[in-house]
C-alpha cells in the first residue's frame, strides 16, 4: 500500500500475525458470545424456580444496559448520567404503540428496531449540544436530560393523554412470532419445557448476545480504537485524523439504541411501564454496574449487573440491614479491587481530567501505593 523503503515486506514474516485482524476480532467476539449463551443455557436448565429465572432475566436486561453504557463511559470516556432515559424512551415506544392505551397494536419485531431508532435519534438530539461540552459539564447536561425525560413521562397525560402520566401504561402486548405469543403459555416437548418466564429469558439472552457481539466487535474496530484513544487524549486523537464530535456522537448513539432496545424488551416482558422505573437512581445503578464490573470491560458489565441485581435478592433475609450490608460490600469491592471485577489496570500515563477519569483514578489509587507516596 505504501512504499516504506527500509523495512522488509511484511509478507515474509507471516508468523507475526497469523490471521487478519478483522477475522481475529470476529472469532474472539463469537467465542465469547458462545460462552455467554452456554452459561445462559445452563442457568435455564439448572434454575430451581420460575422466580430465579425472573431474576436471571432481570440480570440480563441490566447487563444489556451496562454493556451499552460501558461503550459510552468505558470506551469513549463520556460520563452519561441520564442513560436510563433512553431505556425509558424505548420502553414507552413499545408501551404506547402496542397496548390498549391508544388502541395501537404494532408487532414487537417491528417496534424493537423502532424503539432503538427513537432512542438513537434522541441521542443525536441531546448529543448535538451536550457533546460540545467537556467532562463534568457533559455529566450535568445528561443529568438534566434524564430529568426532562422523566418529567415528560409523568406529565404528558394533559392536555392530550399521551403517556398516561404517573399511572403508567398497563396491558402491554406480548411479543408474537407468527400467531404464537411469547410468554403466554408454557411450551413442552416431552421432558423439556419452557415456562412463559423462561421464554422471556431466552428472548433476553438473544438480545444480550447480540449487544455483546456488537460491543466486542466495535471495541476492536476502527471506531472502538478511536473511542479508546479519545478517552486518553482528544488532542492526539484529532491529530490522527479522527473527528472527535463524530466519534463521541457515535458512542452516545450506540449506547442509546442499546438502551432503547432493552426498554422495548422490558416493556413487553413486564406488560406494564411506569415513569418511576426511569428515575435518576436507575442511571446511577447502571453506572455502578459498569464501574463495579470494571470500566471498559464487556464481561465486567455483565458481572456488575449480576452482582447488583443478585445481591439485594440474596440479602433479603437480613431484612432492614439489607441496604447496609449491600453498601458495605460495594465499598469493600471497590477498596480491594479498585479496577473493578474484570478491569485491567492501565499503565501510569494520566488520562485527561474528566470526572469519569477522576473517579477512575481515585478508585485506582489504593493499589498504586508502593510506586510513590
Amino acid at each position: 500500500m505504501t512504499t516504506l523503503a527500509p523495512s522488509p515486506p511484511v509478507e515474509t514474516e507471516p508468523a507475526r500475525r497469523a490471521s487478519s485482524p478483522d477475522a481475529a476480532s470476529r472469532r474472539t467476539a463469537a467465542k465469547q458470545v458462545g460462552v455467554l449463551v452456554a452459561v445462559c443455557l445452563l442457568v435455564i436448565l439448572a434454575a430451581p424456580s420460575d422466580y430465579s429465572v425472573r431474576i436471571a432475566t432481570l440480570v440480563l436486561v441490566y447487563a444489556a444496559l451496562a454493556m451499552g453504557l460501558n461503550v459510552v463511559v468505558g470506551l469513549a470516556g463520556l460520563l452519561d448520567l441520564g442513560f436510563i432515559a433512553f431505556f425509558g424512551v424505548g420502553a414507552y415506544t413499545y408501551a404506547l404503540l402496542a397496548s390498549d392505551l391508544h388502541d395501537i397494536h404494532l408487532n414487537f419485531w417491528v417496534l424493537l428496531p423502532v424503539g432503538m431508532l427513537v432512542a438513537a435519534m434522541l441521542g443525536v438530539l441531546v448529543g448535538l449540544p451536550a457533546l460540545r461540552t467537556h467532562g463534568d459539564y457533559l455529566a450535568i447536561v445528561t443529568l438534566g436530560f434524564g430529568e426532562i425525560v422523566f418529567i415528560l413521562l409523568v406529565n404528558l397525560d394533559r392536555p392530550v393523554n399521551i403517556t398516561n402520566g404517573p399511572q403508567g401504561v398497563l396491558g402491554i402486548d406480548l411479543p408474537s412470532i407468527g400467531g404464537w405469543e411469547v410468554g403466554k403459555e408454557g411450551v413442552f416437548l416431552g421432558a423439556f419445557g419452557l415456562t412463559p418466564t423462561m421464554q422471556f429469558f431466552v428472548l433476553a439472552t438473544l438480545y444480550v448476545a447480540a449487544v455483546m457481539y456488537c460491543a466486542l466487535r466495535l471495541r476492536d474496530a476502527r471506531l472502538g480504537r478511536a473511542w479508546r484513544a479519545m478517552r486518553e487524549s482528544e488532542a492526539a486523537t484529532s491529530s490522527c485524523g479522527v473527528s472527535i464530535v463524530r466519534a463521541k456522537m457515535s458512542a452516545f448513539v450506540f449506547g442509546a439504541s442499546v438502551a432503547g432496545g432493552a426498554g422495548v424488551l422490558t416493556a413487553a416482558w413486564y406488560g406494564s411501564v411506569f415513569p418511576d422505573s426511569f428515575l435518576f437512581s436507575e442511571s446511577i445503578k447502571v453506572l455502578a454496574m459498569v464501574v463495579l464490573g470494571g470500566i471498559g470491560s464487556v464481561w465486567g458489565a455483565l458481572a456488575g449487573a449480576l452482582m447488583l441485581v443478585l445481591m439485594p435478592e440474596l440479602l433479603r433475609e437480613f431484612d432492614q440491614y439489607r441496604l447496609l450490608i449491600f453498601g458495605l460490600v460495594l465499598v469493600l469491592v471497590m477498596r480491594l479491587r479498585p479496577q473493578g471485577l474484570f478491569g485491567s489496570r492501565s499503565p501510569g500515563i494520566r488520562a485527561p481530567g474528566t470526572l469519569g477519569n477522576r473517579i477512575r483514578r481515585r478508585l485506582r489509587r489504593p493499589t498504586d501505593r508502593g510506586g510513590r507516596s
Binding site: T3, A221, R222, L223, E232, S238, S239, C240, S243, A351
Partner: protein, 259 residues
C-alpha cells in the same frame, strides 16, 4: 510563492486576549526539506505549530497545503490531508498497545464506522489488514519491532517519542510537524533522533517542520531555519548563518548592557 512549496503560511496571527502570541508570520516549507523553527522561550514557536496543525484557529492569515487553502480546516481534516504532528509533551494512548497506537494514526486509511465495525466485510477487513501490516513495517523500521504488543505507556521515554513519530509516519503524511522531538532524550538518543529525522524526507518522501531548542539537532538536520521572537519573524537562512547572526545571539542571550 512557487509551487514547489508544499506548505505556505501567510501573515499568520494569533492573539490570546491582549497577548499577541504570533504576529504576522510568513512561512514556507519546500518539498522534502527539513525546516527548523527556533526562538527563545515564549517566542510563539508552539503556538505557530498549533496554528499550522489546526489545533488552534488563526485570527489572521492563510495556510496553503500543496496550493489548497486549509485555513478553515480543523486538526482532524488537516491530518487526513497528510499534515501530521507530534507533541512536545508526548501524547500516546498509554492504555493501548504500541501497534494499536500506530493504527489509530491510520484512521484515514482504515474503513468502517458503526455498521462496518460490527459487520466487517471485505473492504473493512482488507483495510484493517493493510493498516496493521503497514504499522508493523513502520514500527520495525523505527526499531520498535519488539515492542508492538506492549502497552504504549510502559515504554521508555525515548521509545515513546519514536512511537509518536511512527504513529504519524504510518499514514504516509506529506508533511510532519515535530514539536521538540529531542526534549528529554539523553545524548545517545538525541544522536539517534537526529539521524532518524535527517533521513525522513528521503525515506518517506515528506517534509519536516522542526521546532527545537537543541542547536546541535537543528544544525544536523535542517536545511533552513526560521527564527521567531515575540511572535514575529526575526531572520531565516541556513543554520550556520542563522546561529552566527548577531540578532539571534541577542535574542537568545540578551543584548550586552554597558556598565
Amino acid at each position: 510563492m512557487t509551487t514547489e512549496h508544499l506548505l505556505v503560511a501567510r501573515g499568520l496571527a494569533k492573539r490570546f486576549g491582549g497577548l499577541v502570541a504570533v504576529d504576522g508570520v510568513d512561512f514556507a516549507v519546500p518539498e522534502r526539506r527539513i525546516v527548523g523553527i527556533i526562538g527563545p522561550n515564549g517566542a510563539g514557536k508552539t503556538t505557530l505549530l498549533n496554528l499550522l496543525s489546526g489545533a488552534l484557529r488563526a485570527d489572521e492569515g492563510t495556510i496553503l497545503l500543496d496550493g489548497a487553502d486549509i485555513t478553515r480546516r480543523n486538526a482532524a481534516q488537516r491530518a487526513a490531508l497528510g499534515l501530521r504532528r507530534t507533541f512536545q509533551n508526548i501524547r500516546l494512548f498509554g492504555g493501548m498497545t504500541v501497534l494499536e497506537n500506530v493504527v489509530v494514526g491510520m484512521h484515514a486509511q482504515t474503513r468502517g464506522w458503526i455498521a462496518g465495525g460490527i459487520l466487517g466485510g471485505p473492504r473493512v477487513a482488507r483495510a484493517e489488514q493493510d493498516a496493521f501490516d503497514t504499522a508493523l513495517a513502520v514500527l520495525d523500521a523505527l526499531g520498535l519491532g519488539t515492542r508492538v504488543d506492549h502497552l504504549a505507556g510502559s515504554l521508555s521515554y525515548g521509545e515513546q517519542r519514536r512511537v509518536e513519530i511512527a504513529r504519524a509516519l504510518a499514514s504516509s503524511p506529506r508533511i510532519l510537524l515535530l514539536d521538540e522531538p529531542a526534549a528529554g532524550l539523553n545524548s545517545a538518543e538525541k544522536r539517534a533522533a537526529a539521524e532518524l529525522i535527517r533521513t525522513l524526507p528521503e525515506r518517506y518522501g515528506l517534509s519536516v517542520v522542526l521546532v527545537e531548542h537543541d542547536m546541535d539537532l537543528v544544525t544536523h538536520t535542517c536545511s533552513t531555519v526560521s527564527v521567531i521572537e515575540y511572535g514575529r519573524p526575526l531572520c531565516a537562512g541556513r543554520p550556520a548563518e542563522v546561529f552566527s547572526d548577531q540578532r539571534v545571539i541577542d535574542a537568545y542571550l540578551g543584548t550586552a548592557v554597558a556598565r
